[in-house]
């Protein structure tokens, strides 16, 4: 894309800044999946889908309603799946407010304004052999591209999927497709109790030690992984959320207290995250 030619001369220390696109994607499908969950697939301009797991896009969710409140700002949405070659982006989202309600009204063929890819995603290390992915609710969507990337790098994923009920375990097949060993835990049979999750993780780790922990979507799971990470000496990463305005690190509205270099700093979730090291993030 010509608008990003200048980034070649912005290289510092051999690192070229990642381009950010502001354009439109064409909706290929936008289907209700289960509960309040919807699944959207888009075809995007060349280069826009060149993302990393854990990154996100800002969506211009324009309401079709002729009256009532309208979303003014964009809405951040983490990527469920990206495909550079086929120029595809997928999002799995839950209707929670004005923006996502408007998003669910988009139909096949509609154009959706997108800005991205944005933020710092998950990092995988070449020498790793086995990672643990623990996710709950819509956090499952955020971690699905990580399992895919791990699979491509020959890293095995053990995945614990947590949800209110079995019908809300939306991405199980995605994880299985990427060679992950998947355990399902739900509230309805109390298998999602934190004691049970801890027992599962300790068991998996004893059988085949983890090189890293990854989580998203639950404060309880974050707390548990922070404890186990310290005790078992396994590093970890967590993707977190915060209300955003610009999504690029310009407005400073999405700060969260992050423990870095021995002190608490108000860091921007959109720019310094949304993925942080487990030990940097305090549960809330």
């Amino acid at each position: 894309m010509p608008v990003h030619d200048h980034l070649a001369v912005r290289e510092r220390g051999g690192v070229r800044p990642q381009p950010i696109f502001s354009d439109h994607g064409r909706v290929l499908r936008n289907d209700h999946v289960a509960g309040e969950y919807w699944h959207m697939e888009l075809e995007v301009p060349n280069g826009m889908a060149d993302a990393a797991p854990g990154q996100f896009y800002q969506m211009m969710c324009e309401s079709r309603a002729t009256s009532g409140p309208m979303p003014f700002l964009r809405r951040p949405m983490s990527i469920y799946h990206f495909d550079r070659q086929r120029r595809r982006l997928e999002f799995l989202y839950k209707i929670t407010g004005l923006g996502t309600t408007a998003l669910a009204q988009y139909r096949c063929g509609d154009l959706l304004g997108l800005v991205g890819p944005l933020g710092v995603g998950f990092r995988l290390q070449e020498l790793w052999k086995h990672i643990l992915i623990v996710a709950r609710g819509v956090g499952l969507a955020t971690l699905a591209p990580l399992a895919e990337a791990a699979h491509q790098h020959g890293i095995r994923s053990t995945v614990i999927l947590s949800a209110r009920s079995p019908d809300l375990l939306l991405s199980k097949d995605r994880f299985l497709k990427n060679g992950a060993a998947v355990s399902v835990i739900v509230d309805t049979d109390r298998s999602s109790d934190v004691e049970n999750v801890e027992r599962l993780i300790r068991g998996f780790h004893a059988a085949y030690p983890f090189d890293a922990f990854f989580t998203c979507g639950s404060n309880r799971l974050l707390k548990l992984l922070k404890t186990l990470s310290r005790e078992l000496n396994v590093s970890g990463q967590v993707a977190i959320e915060q209300q955003m305005a610009c999504g690029l690190g310009m407005c400073f509205c999405c700060v969260r207290p992050i423990e870095r270099g021995g002190r608490i700093e108000q860091l921007r979730v959109c720019h310094d995250g949304p993925v942080f090291a487990l030990e940097e993030v305090n549960s809330w």
Partner: protein, 309 residues
């Protein structure tokens, strides 16, 4: 071909489009080549680091954005060492925005940022004045005159005074800023506002009140630019709800020489190059060879005659 260059005092800008302070950082260069802008105004800095306000820091309102970011700053030494060099490398005029709690602090920070390569200094005198119980400097003509005078003695760089709209008579404040030695005015900062969540009855902002920006405020700021343009001789840079080129044309017709785009960058980070090309096209279509032909057009017109029914 349209000549898009404008003059802000002694400073010539290649075009009248620049970001409003606090609404863009160097990250915008990852979206488009930032060197096509007329100037760049980074986020306001203060001498000492400051964390900013509690979250939530923004709330949506109809066609507007209420914010209480609270001027978080890494402080002057960090800015000079790590941020300013990045901006200066872009090669377009960098106008450093500064904020302070007293006239003396303002003079001090302005002296310290008066460095080679810095094109000018925007003084955020819409911020609270510690010596006047937190009332913004630019709420009154006297406090404006005092602070601008103190800054004028501290620097020979062009001074852009950013005025607050939260005052009874902005033209009076504009005159005071001009008398104090400002080279240009930025009209205006955000309107003090508040929003309440009707589920919880709590204020939507962590700081309770905040500044309103976006299209909702534009007609009021157009009026303010129009009034200030009649009261002062120094150039005015308009700032208030600019979303597109038509908004820039409106402000320039009201008397502005340039325009700052703020909130619109949050909705579309690629908005400024689009405004720039649409503005050029507007001039072309209307047969204006220079964008400066737009400045103050409305001021020179006779008032519209009463419509006959």
């Amino acid at each position: 071909m349209v000549n898009m260059a404008v003059k802000i005092g002694s400073l010539t800008l290649q075009n009248p489009i620049m970001p409003g302070s606090g609404c863009c950082s160097d990250e915008i260069d990852r979206v488009y080549d930032v060197t096509q802008l007329g100037a760049f105004v980074p986020k306001s800095i203060e001498i000492v680091p400051r964390e900013g306000n509690p979250v939530p820091r923004v709330a949506e309102t109809p066609q507007g954005l209420l914010n209480s970011i609270g001027l978080p700053t890494y402080g002057l030494p960090y800015f000079l060492q790590h941020q300013l060099p990045v901006y200066l490398r872009f090669g377009i005029p960098i106008v450093v925005s500064v904020s302070a709690g007293t006239a003396e602090e303002f003079a001090s920070i302005c002296r310290q940022v008066s460095l080679p390569g810095v094109a000018g200094i925007e003084i955020n005198i819409s911020c609270p004045n510690k010596e006047e119980g937190g009332r913004a400097f630019a709420m009154g003509a006297d406090s404006t005159l005092r602070v601008v005078k103190a800054i004028r003695e501290a620097t020979s760089k062009p001074i852009w005074a950013k005025l607050t709209p939260n005052t009874g008579d902005i033209a009076e404040v504009a005159v005071a800023a001009e008398a104090g030695g400002a080279d240009a005015l930025v009209v205006a900062n955000t309107f003090l506002g508040m929003a309440i969540d009707t589920e919880t009855f709590r204020p939507k902002l962590g700081n309770i009140t905040g500044g309103l920006s976006g299209p909702a405020i534009k007609p009021i700021v157009v009026r303010m630019v129009y009034q200030c343009a009649q009261a002062v001789r120094i150039p005015i840079i308009a700032s208030g709800g600019i979303m597109n080129a038509a908004d820039v044309v409106e402000y320039m017709a009201a008397g502005a020489s340039a325009a700052q785009v703020g909130t619109a960058n949050f909705l579309d980070p690629a908005v400024m190059p689009k405004i720039l090309s649409d503005l050029r096209k507007f001039c072309q279509d209307r047969g204006f060879g220079n964008v400066t032909e737009l400045i103050g057009r409305t001021l020179r017109l006779e008032p519209a005659t009463t419509l006959v029914a």
